[in-house]
């Protein structure tokens, strides 16, 4: 790690530089966020479907439909609608009202479903880390042998399966054996919650484990051949401890990156998993909204997902920068 001049903190970084980097990244995120809202809004507006007819039903009077659309502002020109939407979003943090679910605000619906998906995603990452790191270490230790290939193969097979296929197979064959609830989300208490998320989290976790496995493997291999390992070994320290510690430190950065990126993919993969396992999560909510043409819910849902993704990436970038000064100096 480069040693800097005066003003270095314990990590060898200038606090001023880190702050500057953070601010720069934040500033860069703003146009992205705005662009995201624009694109979602335009896409939404392009989706055919009359909100009034959807809300009031197929047999509703045309005049009633008109009145509804007028009241909700759907007859205004698109730029006006967009502007109003942004204004309301950033001043009141209000994402609007659902067309399909009478009287429920989008904020409410998204909040409930987001926390379900959040728990699913966290559990999945834990599974992915366990399986991935485990497979990676195993492979590195037994590198170039059959175990290596099989282990890597299993990880990649996990990525290659259609997640809903795996899910349904699990419901039919695994759930009865392990006594797990077939589907549904039960948050009466932590225990039931974990049981209802066990299968979906495993299915999803398997998806993300391959990359983690590979990274762990190469990190372990790197470390295992380093000189200072030989030195440490000659000093008589327990091998496993030494190798593991160094390997993990080496692998930490790329794994954090992957976890951050996986979060995004989990949000996507979660859609299918949530549908198969009947979990009332964010992904399923948005897909249903799109199918039912529930305007403000679609916009709100996709925006939420995008913001979370951008936020997580920002955090990952920042943590990366903390560990690797070269990144900060590179122009974006």
């Amino acid at each position: 790690m480069a040693s800097g001049g005066p003003g270095d903190g314990p990590l060898g970084l200038g606090r001023g530089i880190l702050l500057a980097y953070t601010l720069r990244r934040l500033l860069q995120a703003i146009p992205v966020i705005l662009l995201v809202t624009l694109i979602v809004f335009l896409l939404n507006a392009a989706i055919p479907g009359d909100p009034g007819r959807i809300r009031l039903g197929q047999r509703a009077d045309p005049a009633a439909v008109e009145a509804y659309n007028e009241a909700r502002g759907y007859n205004d020109p698109i730029p006006v609608q967009y502007f109003n939407y942004l204004w309301r979003l950033f001043t009141q943090f209000d994402l609007g009202e659902s067309d399909v679910k009478a009287g429920k605000s989008v904020n409410e619906i998204l909040e409930e479903s987001f926390f379900v998906t959040l728990r699913l995603a966290l559990l999945s990452i834990i599974v992915a880390l366990i399986v991935g790191i485990g497979a990676g270490i195993l492979s590195a230790v037994k590198s170039r042998t059959a175990v290596d290939y099989i282990s890597m193969l299993i990880a990649i097979i996990g990525v290659s399966m259609p997640v809903f296929w795996l899910g349904i197979l699990m419901i039919i064959y695994v759930a009865p054996v392990l006594g797990l609830p077939r589907t549904g989300f039960d948050d009466t208490n932590t225990y039931t919650m974990l049981r209802s998320l066990a299968m979906p989290a495993s299915a999803l976790g398997l998806l993300s484990s391959a990359t983690i496995a590979r990274l762990s493997r190469s990190a372990m291999l790197d470390v295992m051949t380093q000189d200072y390992i030989r030195t440490a070994r000659s000093k008589g320290l327990a091998e496993s401890v030494v190798v593991l510690k160094h390997a993990m430190r080496n692998a930490a950065i790329p794994i954090v990156t992957v976890v951050g990126n996986s979060f995004g993919y989990l949000l996507v993969g979660a859609v299918l998993t949530e549908t198969v396992f009947a979990l009332p999560g964010l992904g399923r909510e948005v897909v249903e909204a799109i199918k039912q043409r529930d305007r403000e819910l679609i916009t709100g849902g996709i925006l939420l997902m995008s913001f979370v993704f951008i936020g997580v990436n920002l955090l990952v970038d920042l943590s990366y920068a903390v560990f690797d000064p070269r990144i900060r100096d590179d122009r974006s």
């Binding site: 479907g49 009031l56 009287g103 230790v141 190798v243």
Partner: protein, 569 residues
């Protein structure tokens, strides 16, 4: 050089082997389809343990969008709402109307325009307040408000049309309608603009249920999420998209329910629902593919219950679609449509593909509907005649016949049926392509007349022929009002209109049957199937007696306060 990672390695190895064993074991045990009982019946592992809390547990495919009576427009919401609310009239087990909130059937005036209802005096809302005629007036008038999805139900009443038009501007919740009069606390008078015999059925639809004004005033639009009614159950808890809990209303006027409550769970996967039913976590299950034939031959055959469904499945032609060879009044177009009808093997569809839950239709009106003609033979298959007709229409062997798209929505068996029909028509030389959309987009397209050939079904709103024939074939209902074939025939219109003003049931039905016959002659549809609703029901359930108006698992118009679970008490 490799360090020993004994513990880690064997840990991961043992995890892997446990998983593999579990999967193998599961694979071996899950396939019980080979097990037979002594009498040679298939053995099915279906646990029969009722809920410890005495709840009746029902699976739902979707979350009901609304429970406010004026917003209910789909079968899921209808099912749940009808356990929370009551209407003036209801159906008895033979599908005849009988009084519910009303004390007796209404007195109808000579000219058929005035209905006098006397209400029961012992009905209260679940918040304690007694129900009066004012409540009925308030509730019926709400159907005219701008948010109501079923304003057509009160349109026949004097002053309703004006109220409906006016309310689109003024946002009044319960606009005044002259034709709904409160004579006194227990007497209500409804006056129609002109006599309309089927009007009385509207008063058995949950949309016309009694709601308490003070609650609606208090919670506004959220009434849909916090409904308060007079019914045997009240809403205790609703986790959107997951579950709904109804608990018994001890003061229900027909007697306290024997159940402690009803617990719904939303599970969109039919396979998962089946697994849960077998695990003993549901008391009833809608039968989908793969279940019926297997269970009928098993030791659990008496858990299969079915009853005639008041619905018809058909593929409609858009008769006004430009460019479609099947559209229009010409004889050649009609022959084409008839050729299509003669090419499809309905028996295969019903008995084999759909496992006997459906059978070939013999018209538009299924059995159980007043006006059904049981003497007309079912539509059959005659491929030779079909080919003759094709040639007569100018397309020998289908040469020159443009390919038409068959549109359907992605639900249940629709895709299978469509593929088989496509294959059937291909055998005769008629080419069709398949187009699949989800329900929202599909219904919009059909309402606006986009497809020339589309799949639909019609479920009875009430068990009278007029419900099918008027909505589907009267020229004034073209488009989103229900006539999506855009059928028009002045004679049919005349017959339907006349039947509305006649009081004598037999005369009415005669006219309606004439109308049906005439419509069939014109062949606006590929007539397909009638069916039977089928469910699995646990053996310990008592008094769950569904009728044709019952939408599978929901048990609409079942006497829910009598439903009971037999436990070892």
């Amino acid at each position: 050089m490799n360090p020993t990672f004994g513990s880690l390695k064997s840990f991961s190895q043992s995890i892997a082997s446990v998983f593999l064993c579990a999967v193998l074991l599961a694979g071996c045990t899950a396939n019980t389809s080979g097990d037979l009982t002594e009498s040679g019946l298939l053995k099915i592992n279906s646990v029969a343990t009722p809920s410890a809390q005495n709840y009746f547990r029902i699976p739902l495919m979707t979350n009901p969008p609304d429970l406010d009576p004026i917003l209910v427009s789909d079968t899921t919401s209808d099912g749940v709402a009808s356990k929370i609310f009551n209407t003036l009239l209801d159906y008895d087990p033979d599908l005849k109307l009988e009084p519910c909130l009303a004390k007796a059937m209404p007195v109808v005036s000579e000219d058929g325009r005035v209905y006098d209802f006397e209400l029961r005096d012992d009905v209260s809302f679940s918040n304690g307040r007694k129900v009066t005629a004012h409540d009925l007036k308030y509730s019926l008038q709400r159907l005219a408000s701008v948010r109501s999805k079923r304003s057509n139900l009160i349109k026949p009443i004097v002053g309703a049309e004006e109220a409906i038009t006016a309310s689109q501007k003024n946002q009044v919740i319960s606009p005044e309608i002259r034709g709904i009069e409160v004579i006194d606390d227990l007497n209500l008078r409804l006056t129609l603009v002109e006599p309309y015999a089927p009007f009385i059925y509207n008063l058995a639809m949950v949309n016309t249920a009694a709601v308490p004004r003070e609650v609606v005033d208090e919670v506004g639009d959220s009434f849909s999420r916090q409904p308060v009614g007079t019914g045997p159950f009240v809403l205790s808890e609703w986790k959107e998209g997951t579950s709904i809990l109804l608990t018994a209303n001890k003061d229900y006027f027909e007697g306290a329910p024997r159940l402690a409550g009803i617990h719904y769970r939303v599970i969109p996967e039919s396979l998962a629902q089946l697994e849960e039913y077998k695990a003993g976590n549901f008391d009833v299950l809608a039968v989908t593919q793969g279940i019926y034939p297997k269970w009928k031959k098993s030791d659990k055959a008496d858990e299969v219950k079915s009853w005639p469904s008041l619905a018809v499945q058909y593929y409609g032609f858009n008769l006004e679609k430009e460019g479609s060879p099947y559209a229009g009044n010409s004889e050649s177009a009609r022959k084409l449509r008839e050729a299509v009808n003669l090419s499809v093997d309905r028996k295969f569809l019903g008995e084999i593909l759909l496992e006997g839950r459906f059978y070939p239709a013999n018209g538009i009106l299924p059995p159980g509907i007043l006006g059904h003609n049981s003497e007309r033979p079912a539509f059959g298959m005659d491929r030779e005649r079909a080919q003759e007709l094709l040639a007569e229409a100018g397309y020998p062997n289908g040469e020159g016949l443009p390919t038409v798209d068959l549109w359907f929505n992605t639900q249940g068996d629709n895709s299978k049926i469509a593929q088989v029909v496509q294959a059937d028509l291909k055998k005769v030389g008629i080419p069709i392509d398949l187009k699949m959309l989800d329900w929202g987009a599909f219904i919009e397209a059909t309402d606006s007349g986009e497809p020339s050939f589309f799949r639909l079904g019609w479920v009875a709103d009430y068990p009278d022929a007029e419900n099918f024939l008027a909505f589907l074939f009267h020229s004034k209902n073209k488009g989103s009002a229900g006539n999506v074939s855009f059928f028009e025939d002045s004679e049919v219109d005349r017959l339907l209109d006349e039947s509305n003003v006649i009081a004598d049931m037999d005369q009415r039905l005669a006219l309606l049957q004439q109308a049906e016959a005439r419509i069939i002659e014109k062949t606006p549809w590929l007539f397909l199937l009638f069916g039977r609703e089928t469910v699995l029901l646990k053996p310990y359930v008592r008094n769950f007696n569904p009728t044709g108006m019952c939408d599978d698992v929901q048990g609409n118009h079942v006497r829910w306060h009598l439903v009971d679970l037999e436990t070892a008490r």
